[in-house]
Symmetry: C2
Subunit: 580 residues, 2 copies
């Protein structure tokens, strides 16, 4: 399929980085400079400014309240869009109603210029700090996303009861200017998340620093999925788009651009690795900057390996290994050429990181002016026409996708606020599913992922295995067969074999799909298209979204024979949670 090429858009991105040591006024200057930069970006033609939400990531990101920064930026700018890149959706970090409120308020003060990027959080500092179990954060994202988008459109929001959020009916106000709500995005640090974005009908903010030609493969996959029946929008509008994030610094002289920008680009990569890797971190003590200065050479962030090449086409965004992130550091011609390559493969937006590490404010401002003057105009011509044309091409798929999504809810009966009853409900200890059979029976139903998540979250593997014997398994597979969705199977016919281990014992199950129906037998398959061997407890956790298939496979706890590429779709075919 030909890439959905449009004229690319230009953006800037803020982590609010601040290498140690810190002077007393450093944070104030950091924010003030950034606001000045955004004002320039708006004036010279950038389309979006994105701000992250990170907590406790000293030096790497002091952007813990992006709603404040973006609201300030809204009054210094006229047309640039204001992107949350991203808001952390797990409810232990942000109550979903507070997210809906702050996004709507930002949309009001900016006259409808908000892009609502979302994510799960993934650093140890953040997950441990807020008590978000890593294996539940995806489920939290789904749950909160569903609730928040309904808060935007339902009047009143009809209430929620999940393992992560209990809320009685309320009209969540204000409502956003953009209808049904601001465009949705999700942060993608791994390639799989780009598939996830497409399946949810939302924009992909890619942080994986891919060369244009590699990114092109993802873009194709993104639009293939978005156009397919696998796309069931997370929101009440589809927002097609793939954006890539790159460090940038621009100067007429390539060596000067590198001199000004490479330490920032390298520190960005180094500090990212610090927080997302296994480096020990002592809050308030560790100096990542000292560590960087001392160890950058040996860890592949050598200044020496990045040199002027004086030839636009040969710029690679990483030079000499992944650690040596160069990105779009170069002359206007080099930046333009790199952007053109992204545009050619269908990337919709390049997001430049200029404020990084020790990069200087005046250099950032000069780069913005230069790119605004010499790069952006080359990409503007005919943009609206091409965007309109693409929207028209995508319209039927978008319409079909939205029809697959549950609509906003209308309460049949009137609801009166009742504090006493509501608090009693909030207090009631969440009753655990009474037994595994009952849980299994309901687990695969429409909202069954909650029941299943609740079931597995509170129990040890041992306990799950004890309860999930052949009798409970039978109920579970019978439920899967009942929940089978021929639409998700997309014409597939054949046998799927499951072998569930409990200690030394192994129980075989075969699901056969034929003529749009599924049947189950308690035996091994004759010619399985896919064969799956897994512990009974892991199987339940996998379907509950609590564990991920790739991780289980790496640990040798999940074996897949046959068509490996088909396996990830099994969950969705049976109404379960996608393994992505």
């Amino acid at each position: 399929m030909a890439p959905e090429v449009v004229k690319i858009r230009f953006s800037i991105f803020y982590e609010h980085q601040l290498p140690r040591p810190w002077s007393d006024e450093a944070e104030e200057r950091l924010y003030r400079d950034a606001l000045e930069q955004v004002e320039i970006a708006d004036r010279v033609g950038f389309d979006h400014v994105w701000a992250v939400e990170h907590h406790f990531l000293e030096e790497y990101s002091h952007s813990s309240a992006p709603e404040v920064f973006l609201a300030a930026a809204s009054q210094r700018t006229r047309r640039i869009r204001l992107g949350h890149g991203i808001v952390q959706l797990p409810p232990p970090v942000n109550h979903p109603a507070r997210v809906a409120e702050r996004v709507a308020a930002l949309d009001l003060v900016s006259g409808g210029r908000v892009d609502f990027g979302t994510g799960e959080a993934s650093s140890m500092a953040e997950l441990g700090g807020f008590g978000v179990p890593r294996e539940e954060k995806r489920a939290m994202w789904r749950d909160a996303m569903d609730a928040i988008t309904r808060m935007f459109v339902e009047e009143p929001f009809a209430g929620w009861d999940s393992p992560y959020l209990r809320m009685p009916p309320r009209n969540v106000i204000p409502k956003p200017v953009q209808k049904p709500h601001p465009p949705l995005w999700v942060a993608c640090s791994r390639r799989e998340t780009i598939h996830f974005a497409a399946r949810n009908g939302i924009g992909a903010l890619s942080f994986s620093f891919a060369e244009p030609e590699d990114a092109g493969v993802w873009v194709d996959e993104y639009y293939r999925l978005l156009n397919s029946e696998e796309c069931v929008p997370a929101g009440f509008a589809v927002n097609p788009g793939v954006a890539v994030v790159l460090p940038m610094m621009c100067h007429e002289d390539e060596a000067t651009a590198i001199e000004r920008g490479i330490d920032g680009a390298h520190f960005f990569g180094f500090a990212l690795a610090h927080y997302y890797g296994t480096s020990p971190h002592e809050p308030g003590r560790t100096s990542i900057w000292d560590d960087f200065v001392r160890h950058r050479e040996e860890r592949g962030y050598s200044r020496g390996i990045v040199g002027a090449v004086d030839a636009p086409l040969s710029v690679r965004i990483t030079e000499g290994g992944i650690g040596s992130l160069r990105g779009a550091v170069g002359t206007p011609a080099q930046v333009a050429e790199l952007v053109r390559r992204y545009e050619a493969v269908g990337v919709d937006q390049v997001i430049f990181v200029l404020q990084a590490g020790p990069n200087r404010h005046d250099h950032v401002c000069e780069s913005l002016e230069l790119v605004g003057e010499q790069v952006i105009p080359r990409f503007a011509e005919g943009r609206e026409e091409r965007e309109r044309a693409r929207a028209e091409r995508l319209a039927p798929a978008v319409e079909a996708a939205l029809a697959r999504r549950e609509p906003p809810r209308e309460r049949a009966a009137p609801y009166r606020i009742d504090e006493t009853a509501e608090l009693a409900r909030a207090r009631r200890r969440r009753a655990p599913a009474r037994d595994l059979r009952t849980a299994a029976r309901t687990a695969v139903r429409a909202r069954g992922r909650h029941a299943l998540a609740r079931l597995v979250a509170g129990r040890s593997d041992d306990r799950l295995e004890r309860g999930f014997g052949p009798a409970a398994q039978r109920v579970f597979f019978a439920g899967m067969v009942r929940a089978f969705d021929p639409g998700m199977a997309m014409g597939f016919e054949g046998e799927l074999e499951f072998r569930l281990r409990r200690g030394e014992e192994e129980t075989p199950w075969t699901i056969e799909i034929r003529d749009g129906r599924a049947h189950v037998r308690p035996e091994r398959a004759r010619r399985p298209v896919v064969g799956i061997r897994i512990g009974a407890a892991d199987f339940l956790r996998l379907l509950a979204g609590e564990r991920q298939a790739p991780a289980l496979a790496l640990d040798g706890r999940l074996e897949i024979d046959g068509d490996v590429a088909f396996a990830p779709r099994i969950g969705e075919m049976f109404g379960g949670v996608s393994p992505y």
Copy 2:
């Protein structure tokens, strides 16, 4: 004691009211107009703009994300201070780290202009909506306030473990510009909360619409407490101040001022009563405005009862009953005279509500200009000198108060982020106190209120009474005696008698204070200064801060003989929670 008179300061206040019916653009215009008004207020000499945080209170307040509104206002203004009036502190609404982050970020983008007002939330719509038990919200406020102020000053924040917040050590960033942190305030809807503000060394934002002469009594009490040993600051700085909130509209012609402002003032009071009273509310359905139009006369909000009086001195802020709130609606001379009366009794700040009900944007703007031109200048002369003089007078008391507060904590041992261990701690079910004796023994220690709150929160009255027999009571009173703080007794000597009821049984205890020591005996007192009779369960809940003495007394569940005024201080004398 003579009032601490200073030159009064002028402020404006935003609920973002929006009576039904709503047009599509109504909320956007509401915010845009408010920002324009704030710009005018800044230019003409107002000192603060305050924005509330309310959730789900349709029509009454669409200000659910004040951090966004105030951040936007920061870039439209140069000198006006930006007040959160207030942030809801219960952790189910806002995670304390998120509060510290957004307040600090706002301080950064505004160049240190933030006032940090705090509160507990108290409408049924909010408490029920977020699952905040009414009887725990005060304890939540205390807990979150302590944590948040430490997040501002501790590097790193040394961690928290209470019934309301568990958080491992983290450096919460950014830090505010103002050191040690922005000035603290608390919302006071009842007179008792003003005492509470004084005891916590923070400013009182009074919403109780008192005539100046009545307010004067409170102001005196406020400064008496602030100057006393009862003041133990909630933050790491003391912020003395009493501010009163009033509806306002100003015009050279009194009748015109009333015509323009009285519906807004009345709707403000009517909608407040709607959400804080017992009126049924159906989210997304109820129209308070329709209700107001239909019933204002019979409920005392008659337009007819407010008329021009043409004599500055006779303006009363409520005319014809509490419902008919007039506030500072009048001519410049009337407004000035009213303000002067507040100033005379020591009120530090008048906060005007102009954007209320159906009040028009152009009328609000004209009023601001008029007050800026004709009222504010009369109060400016010599302000700095008098404020400096007052600060000097208060300095010794402030210093003594700060010495009574636990200082920021320094971790002795280094702490490394460890997601696995941190999540395991976060997950561990909060073990209930093993038995009542053990809990009683620890409950009165320094951080014992947490243990006690944990103990009573999960148990029925029956269960508490069963466990809290004479043997457990003995341990508890022995603990109280050990925790006795002679400083809090302020020279008191004599007997305090407690009679604890359990069913038909009644157990007497006497604490005798003599020569700066306390002793306990299991018998009735000879000449008690105060005698308290209360159910055993209520006694525990009272000391845990879960129930309030006035409410118990009203219900006939608490009897106090002797020096009633002394009773409220008993808890504090023994290291317990203040009944306020």
